[in-house]
């Protein structure tokens, strides 16, 4: 059962990722990312991290994707030019991607992590639920928590300043 769910979610995540890269219309790319994010949430659940899975669905699939869809609707699609500033870029880029994958796989599988081919240790029912994550977040990692909240505030203010600035011809 777990293996079936894993492979379904993995196929969804990979398909969504390939869709993001391959689709010519940015709107379909956003929809591909949506599939990818929901599949990742299933994978997070399989790794017994319920809170992160819920945050993934609410924050990413809920808020961030709506932002993307609004901006795609505002800006519009627009085809990509076939002009390549670096000759053969579209040919060499996938080769580089394959090289990154092979290198990462060798680095991970060649490492001496003994627990890598196990399912991980037995954990209690409370592993990764909101209560335990909140406890760690507010007791052990209070400073990173506050810093990330300030970062979010700065990003919100910055986005308002960026998007609200008048274009030169509009200002006159």
């Amino acid at each position: 059962m777990e293996a079936v769910l894993f492979f379904l979610a993995a196929i969804g995540a990979l398909g969504g990722a390939v869709g993001v890269v391959a689709m010519r219309n940015p709107f379909y790319s956003v929809l591909g990312l949506l599939v990818h994010l929901f599949s990742l949430a299933v994978l997070f659940l399989l790794l017994t991290s319920a809170f992160i899975a819920a945050a993934q669905v609410v924050v990413y699939a809920g808020a961030v994707m709506v932002l993307y869809i609004f901006v795609v609707a505002y800006v519009g699609g627009g085809g990509e030019s076939a002009w390549e500033p670096i000759p053969g870029q579209r040919f060499f880029a996938p080769l580089l991607g394959i090289a990154i994958f092979v290198e990462l796989s060798i680095a991970v599988l060649g490492s001496a992590l003994l627990a890598l081919d196990t399912d991980g240790p037995e954990v209690g029912a409370g592993f990764g639920n909101p209560a335990s994550i909140g406890e760690i977040l507010l007791e052990k990692f209070l400073l990173p928590f506050e810093v990330s909240s300030i970062l979010l505030l700065l990003a919100a203010v910055g986005a308002i300043v960026l998007a609200n600035r008048k274009a030169p011809e509009e200002a006159q």
Binding site: E2, A3, A10, A13, L14, A17, V18, V20, V21, P26, S29, L33, L43, F44, S49, F51, A55, Q56, Y60, V64, L67, Y68, V71, V72, Y74, V75, G78, E80, S81, P85, Q89, P94, L96, G97, I100, F101, L104, L113, A115, L116, D117, D119, G120, P121, V123, F127, I133, I136, L137, S148, L152, L154, A155, G158, A159, L162, A163, R165, A167, P168
Partner: protein
Amino acid sequence: MSIEWYVVLSALLFAIGATGILIRRSPMVILLCLELMLNAGNLALIAFSRMVGNEEGQVFALVVMVVAACEVVIGLGLIVAIFRRRLPLNVDDLRELRG
């Protein structure tokens, strides 16, 4: 499923995202591919946190999510600003800052 599968899957997703950043020209799709790479990193973090049976990796993944949300907000703000100045939305044409 053993942890290996999750880590290899995250490496594959990371490679797909990196390929997308190299291939695509539209800044919006490049942002989407950045999301792919950050999410691949998140998957690896959570897989390793499961491997050692410690929840601190999940808190790290949560912080990565916050940073990704900030990056999206600023990036989309830039794209809207570029669009309103009627500049081309193509990273090959937006090359004035190149040294």
